[in-house]
Subunit: 232 residues, 2 copies
DNA sequence: CGCGAGCTTGACGTTGTTCAACTAGAGTGG
DNA sequence: CCACTCTAGTTGAACAACGTCAAGCTCGCG
């Protein structure tokens, strides 16, 4: 069990606090801080589940998470993979009362559950904060949508290239993390069969675009990936 | 030419004004109104173009529009089809400085161009307005995303069924409009070739799910479309 | 050593795109 | 009033892409 008396991380150095307190006084922030809960999640654990009521926002201090749409028969679909530090709502729709997607830890994660109502009240009072939160939220949406556009009119090798680029630029670049995703996860992101994902990755491997070392993926030729992404 | 001295529609009965003035005083709204421009668009006309700078929001009084992603070689992709009255931003990302999508009239449209900065300033000052705008904006996003999820793991007949349901429920139901879309547009929405869209539609037609009368589409069996949508 | 989970590969059938030919209607000019 | 052209719709055949299935592999763990 986690010892709730000693915090996992220090609120004084918290980026979320820094962002929020640009617009909200420390006094106003304090009740939000006090109502928040620090948690640690292991790889594969579900942080919140599709269909449940959304009462808290998640501030992802550290780690990598995925937003997934769980359909029947276990065929999940990954909408986005996000690295902390970042504020995440119910699939970044913090206005909704229900989580429309599930949030699952891809790597070990340190998160802070923030009371949705308290934060929203503060944000409505200080429009600039709401705006800042919206701006950040929309970014992720847009990335999702462009991933889907890619998916809509590209073949699998183009989509895999897109995913590698996306993950490289947004998650793994300049990071302490290693590029480790299961083949199944890559397939769920590219919306293809895992066999197809495997074949495409090993094709890229043979062509020297990437290097597969066990489960690690190393990108060698980002330029070529871009051209593959472009031509589809 | 449009005679700018006589407005196309009356600001006093405008829904956008009604919504906004729930949160903003009439005095504050007046400069926004004065800065806005009323326009009429014919079928097929581009209201704003992907890549251009986003200076105005669009309030769609009446008519139907589509958000499209224009890639090279003329292969467009439809992200959403929306019926007025509704507030539309630069692809509903009114925080962005660039239009990430194009907005095109599907039917004759009456719109009002609203100065983005003025409205945003008012919304930031009155957080509740910003929140209301965000909530509405996010709805469309969500619909888009679920359309893409459908697209990601369903076959064409499931996707076409989804589109017919979506258009019926969100655009054409209880409306003065007739269900008229070109086959090409349906294909661009379903992300398939127009031949495939045609074949699928005529299959539905033969099975009695829908009736094709020239360019009109009439839905006969919504229940069956739901089951086709579900099984993929 | 055995077992299971994840990974990998190839064969095969289905789905969907591309291409080509044909049809119907609408607009244009002689 | 009749070619003509242009666009949208339609259909079928050939081919490529992709998913499914089945088999074998590797690695880690008990």
């Amino acid at each position: 069990m986690i010892d709730q008396t000693t915090p996992l991380f220090d609120c004084n150095t918290c980026l979320f606090r820094l962002l929020t307190c640009q617009y909200v006084s420390a006094d106003e922030f304090e009740p939000i801080r006090q109502a928040s809960i620090q948690l640690h999640f292991k790889k594969g654990e579900t942080i919140f589940k599709q269909g449940t009521k959304s009462t808290h926002l998640v501030f992802l201090h550290k780690g990598i998470v995925k937003f997934i749409d769980e359909v029947d028969s276990g065929k999940d679909f990954i909408l986005a993979i996000v690295k902390g530090p970042k504020l995440l709502g119910a699939s970044n729709l913090f206005f909704k009362e229900t989580n429309v997607l599930s949030l699952v830890a891809v790597e070990e994660c340190d998160i802070c559950m923030i009371d949705q109502k308290l934060l929203l009240n503060a944000a409505v009072k200080h429009g600039e904060l709401l705006l800042a939160m919206c701006e950040r939220s929309i970014e992720m949406f847009q990335a999702s949508i462009f991933n889907f556009i890619s998916l809509a009119h590209k073949q699998v090798h183009g989509r895999i290239a897109d995913i590698l680029i996306y993950l490289w630029e947004n998650v793994y670049k300049d990071s302490e993390y290693e590029f480790i995703l299961s083949r199944k996860e890559i397939a769920e992101f590219a919306a293809c069969s895992h066999e197809n994902a495997i074949t495409t990755l090993s094709k890229f491997n043979k062509e020297g675009l990437i290097t597969l070392k066990g489960k690690k993926i190393i990108i060698n030729d980002l330029e070529k990936l871009y051209t593959i992404s472009k031509i589809g």
